[in-house]
Amino acid sequence: MTSVWPLLLYYLLPLVGLWTYRRGGRTGTLAAGISWFLAAVALGVVIGDARSFAVISFYLLSLVAVMTAFLVVTGTNPVYGALSLIGTFTGIAGVFVVLQCEFFGIVQVILYAGAILVLYLFVVMMVDLPKENAQKRGGVRGIAAIATGLGLLALVVKALAPLGMRLQPAAGASAEPYSVRAVGTALFGPYLVPFEVASLLLLVALVGAIVLSGRERES
């Protein structure tokens, strides 16, 4: 089954549930959310073309990522937001593992969930951020943003939908291209120059962070 619209529904319905829940409803909306969630899981299972554990995990993990991402962008407390973001990153890492790119899944967890988010939390704690003010949401601009986002989503999915399974790998393809060895060889072979440039990039970031956040010096 190659249709993508049920999948879209699968992602969006729980988001609506979450949204109504956040708008003040309690148990009712929560129940609705949970039932949607279960229905969605069922849907996910149905639309996968193989009912293997891996496929089901993909749908579950990706839903986790989507919902936590949603929490990140709707939450009022940046600390909770950062914690939710860990959920997103972990969910995505799980998806990578399901897609048999284990190396990259590990990188995702170590770099993102490990290093970057710790830095986030560190800074958030350091500067003692207050909660965002009440006027943060709504307004014409917010609605326009949501409308734009939904419109774009529809258009992007419309363009991606016909792609179908055309790009499925040939049956029995080896896992070799995704191995650590393959990535490493590529990094130090054809991608040597980008690799060197990445070091330059980190140098810029390092110096830049010091310049911007350092104390004013007399010159």
Binding site: L160, R166, P190, P194, V197, L200, S219
Partner: protein, 497 residues
Amino acid sequence: MEAMTLPDLRELIPEATISISALIAILVGALARNYSSARRIAPAVALIGLVAAVPLMFAVPHATTVPTARFEGVFVADAFAVCLKLLFSAVGVIATLVSVNFLEAERQANGEYYGLLLLAVVGMMLTASARDVVLLFLGLEVLSLSTYVLVGYLRKDPHSTESAIKYFLLSSFATALLLYGLSLLYGISGGTSYAAIRAAGAHLSGDLRLVAMLSVVFLTAGIGFKATLVPFHMYAPDVYQGAPGCVAAFLAVGPKLAAFGALIRLLVEAMPGFASEWVPLLTVVSILTMTIGNLVALSQSNVKRMLAYSSIAHAGYMLIGIVAAFTPGVTADVRSQALAAVVYYLVAYTFMKMGAFGILLSIKPGDRFAETLDDLRGLGRRRPLAAALLLVFLLSLIGIPLTAGFTAKFYVFSSAISAGCYTLAIAGILNAVVAATYYSRIAIALYAVEPGRGEPYAAGGISLKVALAASAIAILLLGIFPGRVLETALQSVRSLF
């Protein structure tokens, strides 16, 4: 598994040279900041690095004659790249020269400043040489990250900070858009090198064409942001206005040159098969960019903002040449001429725009550098030379003959007509008329009678004067003897095909 051999990195020597001088400048700033002489060392190091890179570009074996594809096609130092890198070096040199006095007047430590400026130039150079979307994107990112920091360099100045916030957030947003487009491009072509993309683009089936369209739109957004194309332009006036004057001069030029250089190579080497997606899109964007840039500039009283809008409009003119080059059915001759026109336009634009921004750094009424029309009132009487130089830059921006701006416009417009894009040519010419009105407002303020607020005094030191005078001379030379540069541009463009 084949044995790993280290590729030949000789072609990276110019970039490496500049990167090393960047490191030295940063170290000088870090170690010797207590000595007042250190303030002179860092810009000197920067200049030496930039100038030394120039002969090295030519010293690279075969770099200017035979296109090479080392590193399995990731990086190339062909004539086109060398041509752009020469220009980028000039941008770096002018930016360095106009910064010296500004930083001293603002009492800023400068080692890191010049280091980051040089690294930004390296980023630009990498985009010019990139033959792989990964390198392209990394080059753009090196450029962006350095400029975020430069924009926010005056930490005590809330405008500088605001400008950094806006630039940083919107630029990372645009980077995400660009990357999304690139990821789709990777998906349909199965590789990140331009060669792979080109091969895939040659036979796109119906479904893939939709994805290609999607990717082209997102790429346009990502690159258009750097090139300040409408509707991705809105950050530019705010950011240029808030950025330190010398950074604004760099910002109005550097990212735009890099974006256009990258766009040209991308279109020629990677995406000729996607031209039918690009051209209609870019046509509309070009007209919108010219028109909106010029229209909004009409009502500005802040010269920095006005120049920012004008730089948006100029991006639209440049885009005319690109559209002309990739209009289906044009001959190879017309195509290379149109692209050469764009390259020539980039050169002309560099000098006139950096000159115009640079002039503002030589005028300091009160405790801030000149920004508004009022600050420039009566300049013709008090600082005749500065006023005359600004007049040269304005004449060039308007497109008066014998200045670089005219030749560039003429060349771009006639290539558009040669390619049959007369709508674009007419839109461009009409826009040039509209643009004349706001540039002439500046010129009138210069020679207005009533003295402006405060007494403008000379804030420029020798390096600033050298930079401005050199830019003005370059503009006149380019206008009177454009042949050499045009010829070089044409040869460089031909090396792409």
